[in-house]
């Protein structure tokens, strides 16, 4: 009988990374990669509340590490960016989110609030100098403990001999408070960043590549989510479409610069891009073509030109948008779908982009392991048939059943092997 040789973590890391890269490059890997977003399932599995994860980095890291090593998916997710920001959020008094223990229950996921942080008549100000607008208008509206920063003189005029006397504008009691908040915030942010890097190294040492490295955002979504609000951006399509388009053009290089700079520091080329407002129910095809897709495509092409792989998380219903999604450089993009006609997606995206997803979250939460296996089999037999496919659930597994997650991962590993 052949002796099974335990693979080293380094070998496992290489094997897993290659498996994912092969799928994204539209090749046929050794088997179908299986990636999941455990989300707060990891906290529940480990036995801590969501609030504890939000506020205690060591407990959170332990919970995610145990979950990932127990279930052994092909990549690890780093929860630090969004699931451990309780203290920092409280220091700055962040207004746009409710998080476990702050506005929602200790065991309820964080939820976003929709604000209009750029008023309809402030577009010109934003377009003239976005950094100044963000510093003096956006910050005090969204970060409660930075109120007062709006009274600063515009920093863009502090440069020349004598002009530097304007620094006196920073010497006010309200700026004392702003500086005190920033001092606490930067220290907390640095602690979070160090914990995040340490966790990433640990997971890589254990043999897991990252699901994704940098995060990014489609220009329309940035304007809608952070600045104009859902309602504001929708009304702007009618009342001030030119300004909306100018703002979209303005933020694109800012977004690209951020993702590419972050990508250079990370050990993972996959860029997570959650898609928010472009789904079928949220705008018409014509509106999508005018306001959403051009910025989305330019973002993906810019990332690809910088050697990165855009991995949009295609939230919502997207079947009628598939023709747009196919228009990207081949073998570089991986679309993770929530609700799409997967057979049609395969037909249209074949030869263009990798498809990820296919396990309905409802099945993971309410079904049985047998249901889950049957769905895995169906996806692997059809969409996964000749590579270019990654198994995943539609959204985060927060409330999924443990036995269903096990079934999804283990069955994919067993049944998803490609015959040479």
């Amino acid at each position: 009988m052949a002796k099974t040789i335990e693979k080293s973590p380094a070998a496992l890391y290489q094997e897993r990374e290659k498996r994912i890269e092969d799928a994204i490059a539209l090749g046929v890997p050794d088997r179908v990669p299986v990636i999941v977003s455990f989300s707060y399932f990891a906290a529940k599995y480990y036995g801590i509340t969501l609030k504890e994860a939000m506020f205690d980095g060591a407990k959170m890291a332990a919970a995610w590490e145990k979950t990932i090593t127990d279930f052994q998916p092909d990549a690890y997710e780093n929860p630090f960016g969004t699931r451990h920001v309780g203290m920092l959020s409280e220091i700055i008094d962040y207004k746009m989110m409710r998080w476990p223990g702050h506005g929602v229950g200790d065991n309820v996921n964080f939820q976003y609030l929709d604000f209009e942080n750029l008023k309809a008549d402030e577009y010109d100000e934003f377009l003239f100098d976005p950094t100044d607008f963000i510093l003096r208008k956006f910050w005090p509206r969204v970060f409660g403990n930075l109120e007062g920063v709006e009274n600063l003189p515009p920093l863009r005029m502090i440069h020349s001999y004598g002009g530097f006397n304007s620094l006196a504008g920073l010497n006010t009691p309200e700026m004392d408070r702003v500086f005190a908040t920033l001092d606490k915030a930067r220290k907390q942010a640095a602690i979070n960043a160090a914990a995040s890097s340490a966790y990433a190294r640990k997971m890589e040492d254990l043999g897991f590549p990252a699901v994704s490295g940098p995060s990014s955002i489609v220009p329309f979504d940035l304007i809608s989510d952070q600045f104009r609000g859902t309602r504001g951006a929708m009304v702007d399509m009618y009342r001030r479409p030119d300004k909306l388009l100018m703002a979209i053009d303005k933020v694109l290089p800012m977004i690209l610069d951020q993702a590419i700079t972050a990508g250079k520091k990370m050990n993972c080329k996959r860029v997570f891009i959650p898609l928010h407002k472009g789904q079928e129910f949220f705008m018409s095809r014509e509106q999508y073509q005018t306001f959403y897709w051009p910025g989305f495509r330019a973002l993906m092409v810019g990332l690809i030109d910088a050697g990165l792989n855009p991995c949009p998380f295609v939230e919502g219903e997207y079947t009628s948008r598939l023709e747009f999604l196919a228009d990207v450089p081949p073998g570089k993009v991986c679309y993770r779908f929530e609700n799409v006609d997967f057979a049609r997606a395969k037909e249209i995206l074949k030869g263009h982009a990798c498809i990820e997803g296919g396990m309905p979250i409802s099945l993971m939460c309410t079904g049985t392991p047998e249901d889950v296996k049957a769905r895995c089999k169906q996806m692997i037999d059809t969409v996964g048939k000749d590579g270019g496919y990654i198994m995943n659930a539609g959204v985060g597994l927060d409330n999924a059943k443990e036995e269903n997650i096990r079934a999804m991962i283990d069955f994919t590993k067993e049944y998803g092997v490609y015959k040479k």
Binding site: V235, M237, R239, F281, M283, S284, G316, P360, G367
Partner: protein, 210 residues
């Protein structure tokens, strides 16, 4: 001669619609007649949304124009506008979930379809639904939710309605981004829908109306 308010408003021509409203008011027309045209126009907007000719931005914009018209017309109103409603519907986002975009669209669509909508808001505990059913005797209850935690909240709400002895008095439909028939079975609701149109047709089915 003023243009047609129903046409201009239903085509989302903001300036034209407002001009017509102002000129009809200054010509001394009864505000209730203007509001009746507005209602007809909004019904057309709702129908176009159902047919997927209009999308959410179009609905939102029509709502913006509607608000502007109401602002202009309201000060001229002498009495309340009496409209006959088709029937009562209770709607709310279930406990733990604070998402409201989908729920608000459903409320808007039901309202333009002539239903008396009791919108409870977001993060609504089961008992609040039960109390509202007892109070209004509404025959239709719509539960909204975006997060997967809403599956359990919806189930708890249906169970609470059952425990209060009201289950056979109401028809329950669930809706939201992650909702499908697996979730319907799990929660014990009567039906489910991915969009606002399902909620409207469900209400029509159990209450009546065209």
């Amino acid at each position: 001669m003023a243009g047609n308010l129903v046409t201009e408003l239903s085509n989302l021509n903001e300036k034209e619609a407002l001009t017509i409203v102002k000129s009809r008011l200054s010509a001394g027309e009864n505000p209730t007649r203007i509001l009746s045209d507005v209602r007809s126009a909004m019904e057309i907007v709702g129908k176009r949304f159902e047919k997927k000719e209009y999308f959410i931005p179009d609905l939102v914009y029509s709502g913006e124009i509607l608000n502007e018209i109401t602002e202009i017309v309201k000060p001229r109103m002498t009495g309340a506008l009496a409209t006959k409603k088709r029937g009562k519907v209770i709607i709310g986002t279930v406990v733990g979930d604070i998402h409201d975009i989908g729920k608000n669209i459903v409320t808007f669509m039901l309202d333009t379809s002539g239903f008396e909508v009791h919108d409870l808001g977001v993060d609504i505990p089961p008992q609040v639904f039960v109390d509202k059913i007892t109070e209004t005797r509404a025959p239709v209850v719509l539960l909204s939710g975006f997060l997967t935690l809403a599956f359990d909240s919806m189930k708890q709400t249906v169970d609470a309605i059952k425990a209060a002895g009201l289950r056979d008095k109401v028809k329950i439909c669930i809706g939201g981004g992650q909702i499908d028939d697996n979730v319907r079975k799990y929660t014990g609701a009567d039906d489910w829908g991915p969009d606002a149109m399902t909620a409207v047709s469900f209400s029509r089915k159990w209450i009546g109306g065209k």
